[in-house]
């Protein structure tokens, strides 16, 4: 059943990704598939994946350089006819955005857990291969993000020592001494000056 469109003609969008993600939300909710007809820096035209159907969202820059929705044909009659593999909920952009909202993905997370959590929250069955790819990319992101965060620890400890001259800190890393970015975090130790003085 068609739910009311989340858009109206002349709606404005902050950037193209906001428009795209809102269309994806709508497509998952109403179980239809769409494709990009045109997308460049000036305009975006999204149409029904099955050519004979009329669903369409077209937006382009207006005179003020804002992204404005200009054509909206909100009736989508292709429900259930779209190829399952190409449905929005099997796209990596949707999975990478939605999975972390419901699940903290680590190396221990299984593909099955991702499929189950999406089934539970959206009533959809994600393709196993799509879920596997999303899991792999989210785990990689997590590792890269962790490495990036761990690289900030030396500066943080330096700041702590500056503010608390008697603080005792220690950081243990492994890897190349000459290249800080190739070093991997092992342990960090912090003992505030107050603890040293107050311990009896």
């Amino acid at each position: 059943m068609n739910t009311p469109s989340p858009f109206q003609v002349n709606d404005l969008f902050r950037d193209w990704s906001v428009l795209r993600s809102q269309i994806e939300e709508w497509a998952v909710k109403d179980r239809f598939a769409f494709k990009v007809q045109i997308k460049d820096s000036q305009q975006a035209d999204y149409i029904c994946r099955t050519p004979e159907y009329q669903w369409r969202v077209f937006a382009s820059h207006n005179r003020n350089k804002e992204i404005q929705l200009k054509i909206l044909n909100e009736r989508h009659t292709c429900i259930g006819r779209a190829s399952t593999i190409r449905e929005v909920h099997n796209s990596q952009s949707w999975l990478r955005r939605k999975v972390p909202e419901h699940l903290f993905v680590t190396r221990d997370t299984t593909t099955r857990q991702i499929i189950d959590i999406l089934q539970l929250n959206y009533g959809i069955t994600v393709n196993t291969e799509a879920a596997r790819l999303a899991r792999a990319s989210l785990v990689n992101d997590r590792i890269e993000h962790q490495q990036e965060q761990f690289l900030k620890i030396p500066a943080y400890l330096e700041l702590l020592r500056e503010r608390n001259p008697w603080i005792h800190t220690s950081l243990h890393t492994v890897g190349s001494e000459h290249n800080p970015e190739a070093q991997h975090f092992q342990h960090v130790f912090i003992c505030p000056a107050e603890s040293q003085l107050s311990f009896i």
Partner: protein
């Protein structure tokens, strides 16, 4: 009175899957005082050895302290760092948690742990032995000086 230090580790479940090691003491007002903390990959002998070495450098007085812990294998293997001067005790809360696996004798744990005399301890231990020999053997394997007053 000997200074007191409690050692334990816990999982960090937020953004980074690491382990937090903590040393907690008591200050002049009798309040808990976090002495030091460390973030390590997991509770093991290497990480506890590293942590205790740093703790010893930061607060040398800990070498005269009484240490209490949950008998973590990594921690027990790392206690050599602190030398022979320390007094080690076992946390009765954690011991009781492990003891709960012996069904129907759980209520006998605290009277044994709080026994006021050697005689009282043996009487209660014999009582436990008659009901559950496995539970009694489990407790007898642990040095009673580390978890009782006797």
């Amino acid at each position: 009175m000997r200074p007191f230090v409690a050692l334990d580790g816990t999982f960090l479940k937020a953004r980074f899957v690491q382990t937090l090691l903590l040393a907690v003491g008591i200050d002049g007002n009798g309040q808990n005082l976090i002495l030091a903390w460390g973030v390590v990959e997991s509770e093991n002998t290497d990480s506890w050895t590293w942590f205790l070495e740093r703790l010893k450098q930061a607060i040398p007085q800990v070498l005269e302290a009484t240490f209490i812990s949950d008998r973590d294998k990594g921690l027990m293997a790392a206690d050599h760092v602190l030398g022979n001067g320390i007094n080690q005790l076992i946390c009765c809360f954690h011991l009781h948690q492990n003891f709960k696996r012996f069904r129907n004798v759980e209520h006998l744990f605290w009277p044994i742990a709080k026994a006021k005399s050697e005689e009282d301890f043996h009487t209660r231990m014999n009582q436990l032995q008659q009901i559950s020999p496995d539970a009694a053997n489990y407790l007898q394997k642990i040095d009673k000086a580390m978890w009782t007053d006797v």
